[in-house]
Subunit: 204 residues, 2 copies
């Protein structure tokens, strides 16, 4: 019997959207459990690392760490490459995206106004163009027919799509031909297209 | 024929030691290419993301992103669990260690003296104990006979060992029985023991 998946996260895209996109792209059913901010304090202590997202499998084991969950789902859904080398290429992209996500959140959540302005400027002028350049090179090196790695959709396409949304870099990405082609390919995937249309509209 | 591996990194443990430990634990030969700080500016622009470590396979493809390299080597060396679920458990540990590494480097490399003092205090009093607690729970849940996950050495044992060294948390780890048992198990592995004795002594 197919496992019963329950994904618990806040009602934002954040660190949960990569996981939701994996489920939707693979056409695998899951409970998209979105908790309200006011219910979080009561739930927090029950979560393995007092953080979300958390994946529950068959109502029992609870697992945390979004990118560990992403890799597991990608492996189960055959979206982790066709060989150990392809999985390596996918991981290179995942980690490159992870670096950008880290810089992005550091800037966006900085509380000091002056420091935030400085970090946001650096993000837009240096960090994003540099990271998108790296991703463009990786997609050119590893992908075929618009896919990020190999010739089918994988975790790599999903994380690229997610990060571009997260750091609002759609416009910046248009300077990078291979990356733009890849983003278009992901958006045109019928299952993803359907999800993008249906999903709750949130700010983050 | 066995692939020819060349690992390029600085002459520090840093982000390279996990990879070196994987090679040594697996008993796989590799070129441990340690570059001098003064040679870095000339080399930097030739590296895929202007960063180290970089892994070269058979003198051709150069790959970056230390944790992508670590996962590839672990997979090739049969140190990534015996099933997709065990790989998931290993990744939960890898990502938990990654969070701690990030907090650790943020504190250690902060330039502002007052801010650094504050971050180091928080690291020692809150971040390290919390993370070690998470790791202790994960090892208890997933490991057998002292191993972090399953009943043989894996990437999980290696990253736990590396992070404890990196954030100087050996003493703090002694409060956590499962984690201490695991660290001891790793240190007693004959191949690792040999490497720890032979390796260049460096500050970081």
């Amino acid at each position: 019997m197919a496992p019963k998946y329950k994904l618990t996260y806040f009602n934002i895209r954040g660190r949960g959207e990569t996981l939701r996109l994996l489920f939707h792209a693979a056409g695998v059913e899951f409970e998209d459990n979105r908790i309200k901010q006011e219910d979080w304090p009561a739930l927090k202590d029950k979560m393995p690392q007092k953080q979300l997202p958390v994946l529950e499998i068959d109502g029992k084991a609870q697992h945390c760490q979004s990118m560990a969950i992403a890799r597991y789902l990608a492996r189960e859904f055959k979206m982790y490459g066709k060989s150990s080398l392809e999985a390596f290429y996918i991981d290179e992209i995942v980690e490159t995206v992870g670096d950008l996500y880290q810089e992005g959140t550091k800037a966006m959540f900085e509380k000091d106004t002056a420091k935030k302005a400085e970090l946001m400027k650096r993000l837009g002028e240096e960090v994003i163009p540099r990271s998108l350049g790296f991703l463009d090179t990786l997609v050119k090196k590893y992908g075929k027919s618009g896919f990020a790695v190999g010739s089918q959709i994988s975790l790599a396409d999903i994380v690229i799509f997610t990060i571009i949304e997260a750091v609002m870099a759609k416009e910046a990405s248009q300077k990078f031909p291979k990356l733009s082609e890849n983003l278009k390919k992901t958006e045109e995937n019928p299952k993803i297209k359907k999800w993008l249309k249906e999903r709750p509209k949130t700010d983050l």
